[in-house]
């Protein structure tokens, strides 16, 4: 199959270490296909290692087994951050882990994209999916800023926008630890200066990013990922909004601190960006 031919040997070996319940066809019950994962990670590897030259810190904070929610900031006009975080957990953890993202609903209406996201385990962002994946002891990656986060303009770079609170109720309900992370570099890799709203309406996308060089293609800007210690909160998800918002604010503050740490790290480098 074409997907097998696209898979590089390093990825092939690491795929064997994944703890997903593949059947004889290499399919898991959520429709994830081992062959598609192989091609996907083979595409991510050069992007992660050479194009964005991603440096990952603190990956040991991600549990080696069992459920966890990986919560991060959106950085850049396209979800490059999600792709690089997924790559980090696959290439830096031993054994590797596969992170399931929560995809914007519009993507599932698009031909080609809809089945591709499904085959690589990136399901529509629905609470039912989140609960199921955590109860299956999978890794769930959530960006509580949602499309508001990727829709940030360059002038607002690294300012966290409002966090949704749904993730916190699900974390409490499923007793999942929250691993905060920050992605630094995406805003420079894909600086968005304008949103083409007409094009967005036409395609059903929440926004359509326009860069100084027009096309929404990320530049090869070095990026860093910072993971922090897991956070565990008391409760069962039935708490009042005030309590939940308090918990979410703690997660947001941790991520903001991680972003600051990352930007400090860059400033420390000769000629580093701010």
């Amino acid at each position: 199959m074409i997907w097998d031919r696209l898979t590089d040997p390093v990825v092939r070996e690491r795929l064997e270490g994944l703890d997903l319940p593949f059947n004889r066809y290499g399919l898991d019950p959520l429709g994830i296909s081992k062959a598609h994962l192989g091609a996907f990670y083979s595409l991510l590897r050069p992007l992660y290692q050479r194009y964005f030259r991603v440096e990952t810190f603190g990956v040991e904070h991600v549990p080696a087994t069992g459920r966890a929610m990986i919560i991060g900031n959106h950085s850049g006009g396209l979800p490059v951050d999600a792709g690089m975080a997924v790559a980090a957990l696959f290439f830096e953890l031993d054994p590797p882990r596969h992170a399931h993202g929560m995809v914007e609903k519009f993507a599932n209406q698009w031909p080609v994209l809809s089945p591709l996201f499904s085959r690589i385990g990136q399901l529509t962002g629905l609470p039912e999916h989140a609960v199921r994946m955590l109860e299956d002891d999978r890794l769930l990656m959530v960006f509580p800023e949602g499309a508001r986060g990727t829709g940030k303009l360059y002038k607002d770079k690294y300012k966290l926008v409002r966090f949704g609170t749904g993730f916190m109720r699900i974390a409490l309900q499923t007793r999942s630890p929250i691993v905060p992370f920050a992605f630094v570099g995406g805003e420079e890799a894909l600086p968005v200066i304008h949103h083409a709203n007409g094009l967005a309406r036409l395609t059903g996308a929440p926004y359509w990013p326009v860069t100084p060089y027009v096309l929404p293609v990320p530049l090869p800007f070095p990026c860093q990922l910072w993971f922090d210690e897991p956070m565990v909160f008391e409760g069962d998800g039935t708490e009042s909004d005030a309590i939940i918002e308090g918990y979410v604010a703690q997660v947001k503050a941790r991520i903001a601190a991680l972003i600051e740490k990352g930007r400090e790290f860059r400033r420390g480098r000769v000629g580093g960006a701010s």
Binding site: N23, Y25, N108, S114, L126, H129, R132
Partner: protein, 303 residues
């Protein structure tokens, strides 16, 4: 137990009959269609479930349990007839069951009533509303029958009622909704979409229906078998040639050039998945499918 099986002459219902007999039940059947050679001891009454002679079968035979499989799909009946058979037939069965002291009722419905949509979750549970009618009007009568059967839970509380929502069945008989789609010379799919399809072997489906009677079920249950597979793999593993059509051309080409026919509303069902969670049924009955997805597709292929 004395079991009345409505719709006994259907392919799946005949298999259910065998499992019921194996479990030691006495079986009587009710169907407009003939079953020329039923197993020994099985009486088949050739009546319409909505008509008076069918009522007399309840009166004279006094079944303790009823399994209702006398429903039809868009493949075999027109709209008005489907409403008459599916909705009014279901009503008649539950009213007779109540009137003549039936203790248990099993309604056999379909998982397709949940409907396929881009924003629908995988592994839908029984409390999800049926959304199938929005995109697929041909499903409205089945959804109405399913909900009517569910209303028997409060309408006739003395009759223990199980509403089963079965995933597609597949197997050597090459009958059923999914087989109807796959049987064409060429299988039309939508270019750029490859949804998960959930099915179970027809023997497993028949056994699940028969075994539902042996448990004190009172509620609505999804009935599932092995894990779902993408439509492209389903076509490949069953040896059916899939022809991906651009969506705008789809309505013009289905039913022509050897492509299987599909109603317009079914388009959503071959773009987006309908995957349901069968955990509640498995937990209540201990049911476990004996055929996995590979055996099931091969059983259809090599029949």
């Amino acid at each position: 137990m004395k079991v009345l099986l409505a719709g006994i002459s259907g392919a799946l219902a005949r298999r259910v009959t065998h499992y019921l007999l194996e479990c030691g039940h006495t079986v009587i059947g009710l169907d407009r269609r003939p079953w020329p050679d039923p197993p020994a001891g099985v009486t088949v009454y050739r009546h319409d479930v909505r008509k008076r002679p069918a009522e007399d079968v309840f009166r004279t035979e006094r079944p303790e349990a009823v399994i209702h499989m006398a429903t039809v799909t868009h493949f075999s009946a027109r709209r008005e007839e489907r409403y008459r058979i599916n909705l009014h037939g279901t009503r008649a069965i539950f009213e007779r069951a109540h009137e003549f002291g039936v203790k248990r009722c099993v309604f056999v419905g379909r998982h397709t009533i949940y409907g396929a949509a881009p924003d629908a979750p995988l592994y839908r549970k029984e409390d999800e509303p049926p959304l199938g009618m929005a995109t697929f009007p041909e499903l409205a009568d089945m959804a109405a029958a399913d909900l009517y059967a569910g209303s028997a839970l409060w309408r006739y509380p003395e009759v223990r009622t199980a509403v089963l929502r079965l995933v597609y069945t597949l197997g050597p008989s090459r009958r059923g909704t999914l087989a109807g789609y796959l049987n064409g010379k060429r299988v039309p799919t939508v270019l750029g979409f490859d949804p998960l399809f959930q099915f179970m072997h027809e023997e497993d489906a028949a056994r699940a229906i028969a075994e539902a009677l042996d448990h004190d079920l009172n509620g609505i249950y999804n009935v599932t078998g092995p894990q779902p597979v993408p439509l492209s793999l389903l076509c490949r593993a069953t040896g059916r040639p899939a022809v991906p059509l651009p969506e705008p051309l789809f309505p013009k080409l289905v039913g022509k050039l050897g492509l299987s026919w599909l109603p317009r509303g079914a388009l959503a069902h071959i773009k987006y998945p309908i995957v349901v969670d069968g955990a509640a049924f498995a937990q209540a009955t201990g049911f476990k499918a004996r055929y996995d997805e590979v055996n099931t597709m091969e059983a259809y292929r090599w029949a």
